[in-house]
Symmetry: C3
Subunit: 398 residues, 3 copies
Amino acid sequence: MASSSYSTFAINKGSFSPKVINCNKELMFNCSSCKNPFPLYTDFTKSRLLISNEKSKKWKQIQQLSLRSPIQCQALEIENTPSFTIGKKFNLDDVIEAQQFDRDILNAIFEVAREMEKIEKNSPGSQILKGYLMATLFYEPSTRTRLSFESAMKRLGGEVLTTENAREFSSAAKGETLEDTIRTVEGYSDIIVMRHFESGAARRAAATAGIPIINAGDGPGQHPTQALLDVYTIEREIGKLDGIKVGLVGDLANGRTVRSLAYLLAKYQNVKIYFVSPDVVKMKDDIKDYLTSRGVEWEESADLMEVASKCDVVYQTRIQRERFGERVDLYEEARGKYIVDQDVLQVMPKHAVVMHPLPRLDEITVEVDSDPRAAYFRQAKNGLYIRMALLKLLLVGW
Amino acid sequence: MASSSYSTFAINKGSFSPKVINCNKELMFNCSSCKNPFPLYTDFTKSRLLISNEKSKKWKQIQQLSLRSPIQCQALEIENTPSFTIGKKFNLDDVIEAQQFDRDILNAIFEVAREMEKIEKNSPGSQILKGYLMATLFYEPSTRTRLSFESAMKRLGGEVLTTENAREFSSAAKGETLEDTIRTVEGYSDIIVMRHFESGAARRAAATAGIPIINAGDGPGQHPTQALLDVYTIEREIGKLDGIKVGLVGDLANGRTVRSLAYLLAKYQNVKIYFVSPDVVKMKDDIKDYLTSRGVEWEESADLMEVASKCDVVYQTRIQRERFGERVDLYEEARGKYIVDQDVLQVMPKHAVVMHPLPRLDEITVEVDSDPRAAYFRQAKNGLYIRMALLKLLLVGW
Amino acid sequence: MASSSYSTFAINKGSFSPKVINCNKELMFNCSSCKNPFPLYTDFTKSRLLISNEKSKKWKQIQQLSLRSPIQCQALEIENTPSFTIGKKFNLDDVIEAQQFDRDILNAIFEVAREMEKIEKNSPGSQILKGYLMATLFYEPSTRTRLSFESAMKRLGGEVLTTENAREFSSAAKGETLEDTIRTVEGYSDIIVMRHFESGAARRAAATAGIPIINAGDGPGQHPTQALLDVYTIEREIGKLDGIKVGLVGDLANGRTVRSLAYLLAKYQNVKIYFVSPDVVKMKDDIKDYLTSRGVEWEESADLMEVASKCDVVYQTRIQRERFGERVDLYEEARGKYIVDQDVLQVMPKHAVVMHPLPRLDEITVEVDSDPRAAYFRQAKNGLYIRMALLKLLLVGW
C-alpha cells in the first residue's frame, strides 16, 4: 500500500464520468468539504463507475453520494494495481437472473467450477476466501440451498453469517424496507446470498447494496444458480452442449427450473428440446416463442418412452401439489403420468443421463438410483462447485 | 509455559483474600484433598479475586469453590506474565448495563473501536481472536443484533456457536433455570452474548458464569452495546462530546435507547438535551431528575424545526405501536407528529447529523438517506466496531 | 501424491472382495466403460470393503455402485499410505448405538478424550480438523446437544453447517425420503451429526451415507454419545469402572440415558447397580434380564438414603411429565419421591459423586451444586471431550 504519486482533480455534483477518474487505482481523498480525509476506490470491473469510502470490494454507486456541492479533491494514488485487465474477463457484480449470462460467461464460470472440483477433492480446505464473510439472508427457509452456499463458502476458507429468520427484520419493525435491511447487513458482510418470497426482491437488493448479491431464489421469479448448475451438469455428463437433445418432463408450467434451463439452452447450437408433461402443466407459450425466435427446435410429446430413447438428457421434475389447490384428482392424475423407472432406463441410450432438481418424490423410482445414468445426486453436488465458483468470482475476481 | 519456581501457601475455607495470592501468575496446585493435581489461575484484571481450574479466561468466583476443609497447596509458578499492569487499564469482566461505564472507560473503549475500524478496513480478516468461541444465546430473535455480534467475532478471527432458539433450553425441560443453562453453555464457549426477554437476566447470568457475559438486550431493561455505539457515533461524527447539543425525538417514554443515551451523555461537560416527543410518550421524570442532579441542561420542546436548527445531533426514534394497545388513533397521531424530512434538513446545521437506532419506518423519510448528514447507517456500522472492541477487551484484554 | 506403480485387476459385477483389492492405497482407475478416468479409494478401516470416487473420507458402499457389467480397470497406485495398521486399532465408521462399543473400544475412546481435555485447556484452538466440515442435521431442536457437538468441532479447528430445521427438507417436498436428504447433505460435508424423531433413523442414514454418521438421538431409540460421556465421567470421577456401585434414580422406565448406561456398565467387572424409582416408572425387565445374563448384580430399592450411603455414583434423572398424560397426580407423586438434597449428601461417601444428564428441575436441589461431589456440570463438559474424540476418530483416525 505504498504511496507513489499525487494527482488532483475535481468531483463535481452529478458530473462524474469515467473520463474524470480513468486510472485503475485506489485513491485517498482529502476533500475540502469533508469532515475527514477518506479513501475513495474506483472499480473498473463494473460497467458503471463506482466509488466508495468503504474497504475494497464494497462499492457504492456513484449516484448514491448525492454531492450537494463540488468537492475539490486531492488524490493520493496507491500502488495496488489489480491483476485483471479491463475487457479481458467478464464483469460479474451480482448474480440475479439466468438472463444475465451469455455463452462466453457461462463457459468461463464452468472453467472456474472445474477448478473448484479439484480444490474440493484434493485438499482438506482451500483458503482462497479466508477473511471473507458471506451473509445468508433467507426470508423463507430453504435448507438445501442454504447449506449448499454455506458449504461452498466454507470449502474456500470463508466464513458465514446465517439467518433463516430474515422476515424478523421487517416483522420486528413492522415494516422495515428490504433496502434498509440490505444497508444494515452489507455493513456486516462482504457478500449477501438472499432468498426471498417476492419476485424481483434480489434485483432491488442489488440496486441498493454496495456489495455483491446472489439471488438464491426470489419467489416465483428466478433461481439462477440452479440454472447454472443444470447446464454445468449437462456439459460434465454429456461432454458438450451444442447439438444435445433434452427432454424436459413433469411440471413445465410452474417449474422455474425447466423454464430457466430452456432459456439457457437456447444459447447453444443445434439443441433440440422435447416437452413431456401432463396437459394441465404444459410449458407456457413465452418460452416456446422465445425458443422459436432463437431458432431452437422443440416439440411437445406425450410419449416419454419415445423421447427417452432419443435424448441425451431426461430432465424430470416434481409435480407441485400446491399448484392444484382443491383439485386433488387432477394432481393425482398428473403426478402418476410420467415416471422415470427401469422401463425408461431400458430405452435410454447408454451415454444419456437422468437429471432432477431435487427433492424428488416418486417421479423417479428408487431403483433408478443405482444406475450410473442417474445423475441427480451428482447434479446436486455440482451446485456446490458452481456456487464455489460464483463466490470466488464475485469476491476475488477471475 | 516453563516452570520457574515453587511457593507454598494455604487456601483455607472461606479465607481467600488478595493478600494470600498476590502474584500475577498462573499457579499449578497439588492439593492434599484433591483427586488430581490441577492448575489454578488467578485473575487480577477482575476486582474480585478469582480462581479457576479451567483454562485461562474461564474464571470461577472463589465463593463457588465451597471448600469443605482447608487445602494445603503447593504452587508451581509458571512464567506467563500477562502484558497488562494492574491499575493501568480498566477492569472489564462483563457488559451488563450502560451505568457500568464512566467517562474514562468509554474513552478507552472508543480508542479500541477506532483500531477496529482500521482492522476491518485494511485487512481481509484479523486473527486476534483466533481459537476463541462466542456463544450467542438468544431467548428471543434479534437478527440485526445477532449478526452484528457474530460479524464482529468473525472479523477478528473468532468462531461462533449460535442459537436463536434458546427458549428451547428451558421449554424442553419445562423449567431449567437460566443459571443451569449458563453453566452448561460456559463449558462450550469462551464468552456468551445473551438476549433475553426478562429484565435482569443478563445480571443473573453474569453472577453465575465464569466467562464474560455481554448483554445484547434484556427485555425492557438494558441494551448497553447500543448505548455505547450511539455515544461513539456522536464522537465520530461531531468530533467531540463535551458541549454538544442533542435533540432526542420520538418515543422517549418506552425507548430504552434514548434513556441510556441521555444517561451516558450526562457524563460529559456542557451537554444540552432537547426532548421532542408526542405527549403520550414523553421522557419520564427519572431521567430528567438524573440529568438535573448531574447539572445537565435539558428542555422539552414541541417544535422539531427549532430544535433541529440548534442541535449537533437529531436522534430520531420509532414510535412503537405495540405500546398503544387498542388506541390506534393515539398511535397514528403520535406517529405522524415529528418526521425528519427535507424540511428538517434545510434548517439543520451543515455539520450536524441525523441518528436513529434502526429499524426505521417513515419517521425519517427516504429522501433524507442521500444527505451526508444521514448518519444512521454509519451508526449501525459503528455497532460492529464497538462490538469488536468489547469482544477483544473481554477475551484478550487491553 | 506421486505415482509409483501400476497394477491391473478386474472389478466384476457383485464380485468385489477384500481379496481383489488387498492393498492399503488409493487407486486411480481408467475404466473401459467409464466416461472419465476416476480415482477409487479403498478403505480398510472399515470392516466392509469400500470404494469411492469421492475424495478421501467419503466412501460409498461397494454395493451401491451396481455395476451392470464387469469393468476392466487399470490402477495407478499412489504413494499415500495411511499411518494406521489394520487390526492395531478399532474400526469406527459411524456412531449409531451404545451396543456397538465393547470395553476395549470404550477404553481407547476415553484415552483420546483425555487428550482432548488437554487440547481444550492448553491451547487457544487446535487445528486437527481444519478443513473438515460437519453438518448438524437436526429434525427436532436440541440446542444443548447441538452446541456441544458444534463446540467440539470448532475447538478442533473444524467448520460447521447447521440446521435445526431439517424437517423442512422433507416438508417442502412433502415427502423427500431421509435417504435422499442424506445423499444431498453428504455432498456438502465430511460428517453428519443427526438428531431425528424416529427410532432407527440414524441407522438408515448410516446405511445410505458414504461419510460418517453420528447419532445425536433418534426418538425413543439411542443417544450413544450421552451413554459414552456418562461412562467416561464415572471413570474420570471415581477413577475406575470395575467394582463400582451405581444407584440409578428417577424415571428408569422412560429414560434412555439410564437404560444405555446400565447396558454399558455390564461390560465391566463386579459392578453393582441399584434401581431407585417410583413404582410407575420402574426399570423394565429387558435391562434387568440382560444384566442378570451378564452376571451383573442388581437390586431394586425404595430407600434412596440407604443406596446413597453405599454407592460410588448416584445417577439422578428427571421424571418426564409428558409420560404421564392426564395423570398429573401420579406425576406429582413420582416427582417428589426421590430428591437429591443436603440430606442425601450427608450420607454419601466423600469420594462419591452425583450425576445427572441435565436438564434438571428440582430432583437435585440447588444447594447441592456447591458440593464438590456435584459432578453434573463436569459431566456436561465431558460430553464436549467425548464428542471431540469421536469427531477426531471418525475424520482422521486414531
